[in-house]
Symmetry: D2
Subunit: 366 residues, 4 copies
């Protein structure tokens, strides 16, 4: 069904924005991985609202509750259920405008799909808040990948409102990232993005943007043709994040304007190992990892909740009307989406690593 | 596993480029759909090699064999197995260069992933020829969607080697498409693309490009959050096509440089029905169809097989060497990929239409 | 993975016997079904420990918490997470005997399978307590089947320790069932079973038994060949209940000693409808429901926890030793398994009813 | 969907009894397994019709065609498609009686399920002939299990028409099995079964029976709780065989009349390894293999096709009528089902062995 993903490392999502909680069940994590709330909480904190003055003022502590699957500080091989309780819920606005779907949101499609029975408060099941569950699962996937294969998954903001960060060498990603309120590794671009966000925000508007993600140390030979390709499974995982509208690997859309002699990565021998000289392909050939870092770029549409007046209709009377969405919204989802992108890539990689047999179902003790 | 896709309308792919055949099993197609080889062959013919002078000269008739699941001219509800036999196989070059992986191809990753046991002839399981199976399955999905929901899926070439077709109104797609050897609806751009292809080809090089796809008449309310979104499932299906490196919906990567007021589609009432005024979102909101046409753009990397010398290594001796790939290759995969893109989108939509209950498991008779 | 089951109506189980909680996520339940804790709690109460003097004295209130997927008293189409908290945990014995696996239990196989990282307290993930989650999910499945198709699933105890209830007409099932502490509809046999249980219990022993289950009003035409047959999917669901060792449909093992003329159900016309005269097949032909009640019989092994001395080994020293399991155990799992059997049958039927299109993804309002 | 089974070792079945062919696609078989038609044909020959005078006279050579996934005598890791062509088809009787469903067959349920579009000739998709595909896939699973884990799966006839073979020590299974036309290891019982079959046959009747199956050398620790238990997945696989009505493990239905002290298998140390002294549980504890042989028993209903007159109805006129089924049918399906049972058990075990990581996705070379 729609709320589970993965074959061997499998997550099941549940919860609504203004319901009791948001949670996730991780099934298939190998036994023996050291695990506790301290492994998950820091990732949740990176996604938490209210981290900067260009973020929503909704106050959620988002303390992870670890309900199953961990015993004596280690995973047991049983399903791991985790959740965060919803506390700072203000659903009043949603009751008032429930008959006037917000443009750019799923209000109308959800209403039709679920016969009007959907929980519309705060976007319900379609809220970005659902990604708290993705991040909890992602924290486990990231730790599993790091402990077993030394794989590290790092994302960063590369564009907001048309302002692009300069091209980075992978080694530059770590350094500056968490120093920027937007998780942009280019300090100069970051500063301009902040200004653009404040300008848009003050005009009751919002901005789109893009996140780049790199997975380092992914071993050669992970993935498969033909349907469960690395690209296909990573892309599917990324499109589960609300507001994602494009996913690219390697040179991405840039491939359409170049020649084969400019796109192929030549093979060479590097320390006795066969490797590609360049990495235009984004670390994947034939759906299988090439040993080079896996690189992808994810485009987010502007936050659909904007203060300016928008045309909509009353779904009961079918009369046209307008809506202006006051409330506590990020003017751009990209900065808080950075850990979510990392999580989804890590979850897809963990699943493939287990399917390929590169991670066993029981981890050896030290 | 990796060679099946879909939940209710499910396809299983098999076969290799230089093996006995390439085929597909379609499971879950409703009973009662009129079906015969004449419904499948025309789609295969659109994908067939050798259709123009900018296409490979491999001669494959690609006559579909319909082996099961059809009785008295209609589908029975049982799995439909279809295949095309491979005939014009010339594997000599592959034996000769089996130790020197071709840059941009899956030769090396496949070798590692399958321990050297993979069928390397013609790319084996990684060949574009595998998409003959996708197209056979797609022919059934397209007919099913048309007969039950009047959904039509149309793709066309929009860019080759940096030459872009002008923006088209959807109504213009049908008209000019099959008149162009490249399936480009803009005759002027098509002509320039042909010249660019001939130039690249004569220089032993190849070109990348892009295909746009539109699905018309997709009913409102098809799809679901959170993992099996329409975008996620369509993207995953598209990444199964060899050489695809980016998938975008609606404005796609363009969303990163605009504002919410420029990206949201206002709601209006149109003939009593609620609809969006514009379609920047590409017909999907919250993973669910909005009633507007579903639009996506697929970027293909340049054909990796090029005549010019490329650096590679001998996987046995680990010595560096060069390779020049003579042989029968399309200088750009895009024109023949057009029906494949349509097929993958149709297959994903058919699956979702069945999951959403919009297509029943038995079709009523006339 | 191992902790999810179903295609369209899908459940995911989590929790351990002596962990924080035991729970379940139900994904795919149609929107619009009236639902609240009052629909689930009565089923949990039927499974709860301590209902009679032939049941464990573990005291668990087992109050269901409904965490997601229900809004304004109805299902929303989103995943429904439910759990019961564990309270009356006494894990002391398990720490003491963790190196001496209990015969008939999964202690040893779990230890090997999960590298010694499994939560061994109270059987952990292998405990009968896990079925609390099955029963919560089953309560939803049962209500869904009843509201949409008038399907009713009723199980009852038919054998304990070799004492068999007399053959019952289906109409007799309801009447006496809940009046018996063992959920046996034959009062005379029930009384003898109670005596047998007390005798075994007083001798530090336990008894096996069997449950029969009937699903009434299952519409003709539900199910499918070849792998996801009704029998196959129901059987798989039933084998998820700890201690189940055999599943039979219709005449079951009795088929091996009769002739075709004695086993075939003749067709007749009944009120204008085609029906079988008899129901030896248990309501299934070719994996598809025939319109007759679906009947199955489930055999449970004796509770493996017995007070008498049993030979076992120390897994650390590999020395042979003995174990006597004091503690709070049902001398026979069958009486409390009755609602669990109903739940698993209902879950499998709900999934097939949705797959066959007999239950839509949105229920119409009255 | 209904025609695929398995998670890591996955089979997809296609074809009809009187269609063009019957086939199977095996996806997920590791690369590097020596494989050729000679590995598959002997198993097909064991299932082939016309092996004895108590078997149907339909003449099918059933020569396997190996269409993909094998290269240079080894599996490649790609899907393996295999089929047998149907040749000796006589569909005349089926056209004549298509409006009068045969009791005990799926004619009527299939008609309703598929809206009358099903291929009714020879039972179509519901025919025992479909199991030719199971046996081809089973041949691969059996070889894979033997080569990697030395697992051997052996079934034999233990009951026909109430005549039971004497209890056998596992070592006796191999010796006499193929010497009996019924694959019964007890020569004396076999002789009586032959007489019973001839008697039933001469009276236009048929007999039910049972097959026992043992899997030797299954390594400890294969399988999982809670839904994908070994028992559950084996049972589901077995119920895909037409005419199977009961599946038991270990003492099976016998557990309902014994005590815990009689059913638990004590642990002991055997050559330094922990093992059970007895094997009442059938080699499975908590859904996980215990290291003891896995034992199950499968009950088959009598062949529903019998020559005697049976009451049925005309589905068009709804009038009651009778039917007598002349034609070429086995009076008991059990003897030819023996290799099918082995196949289904082997397929389920191969899948679990791969999921548990006990079989890798690439086999090492010698």
């Amino acid at each position: 069904m729609s709320n589970s993903m993965g074959t061997m490392f499998r997550i099941t999502s549940f919860g609504e924005s203004h319901g009791t909680c948001v949670g996730v069940v991780v099934d298939g994590c190998p036994a023996g991985l050291e695990m506790g709330v301290d492994d998950v909480q820091p990732e949740l904190d990176r996604r938490r609202p209210g981290q900067s003055d260009v973020s929503t003022s909704r106050r959620e502590e988002d303390r992870v509750e670890l309900l199953s699957g961990v015993f004596k500080g280690r995973t047991t091989g049983s399903p791991i259920c985790m959740l965060v309780w919803n506390r700072d819920r203000d659903s009043s606005g949603y009751e008032r405008r429930r008959l006037t779907p917000r443009p750019g949101h799923a209000d109308w499609t959800a209403h039709v799909r679920y016969g009007g029975f959907n929980d519309y408060r705060g976007g319900g099941r379609f809220s970005g808040r659902i990604t708290a569950g993705f991040v909890m699962a992602g924290a486990i996937a990231k730790k599993l990948l790091m402990e077993t294969l030394s794989v590290e998954v790092l994302a960063h903001t590369v564009e907001i409102g048309g302002i692009q960060a300069r091209k980075l060498d992978p080694s530059e990603i770590c350094m500056n990232r968490e120093g920027s309120p937007l998780r942009c590794c280019d300090p100069e671009a970051s500063e301009r993005m902040v200004q653009a966000l404040k300008a848009a925000s003050s005009q009751g508007d919002s901005l789109g943007g893009a996140v780049s993600c790199v997975a380092f140390n992914v071993p050669l030979g992970l993935g498969a043709p033909v349907f469960d390709t690395l690209e296909g499974d990573i892309a599917k995982a990324l499109f589960a994040i609300p507001a994602v509208k494009a996913v690219e690997f390697g040179l991405g859309t840039g491939f359409s304007s170049i020649r084969g002699s400019e796109s192929n990565d030549a093979f060479t021998v590097n320390g006795g190992e066969i490797a590609t000289e360049t990495n235009r392909m984004g670390g994947v050939l034939g759906g299988i990892s090439s040993g080079a870092p896996i690189t992808c770029r994810v485009t987010f549409k502007p936050t659909p909740s904007i203060g300016g007046a928008q045309r909509t209709v009353n779904i009961s009377t079918r009369e046209e009307t307008t809506i202006a969405i006051e409330g506590r919204h990020d003017p751009c989802v990209v900065p808080r989406a950075v850990p979510v992108v990392e999580s989804m890539v890590a979850i897809a990689l963990a699943d493939h690593a287990m399917r390929s047999g590169l991670i066993r179902s029981v981890l050896e003790e030290g």
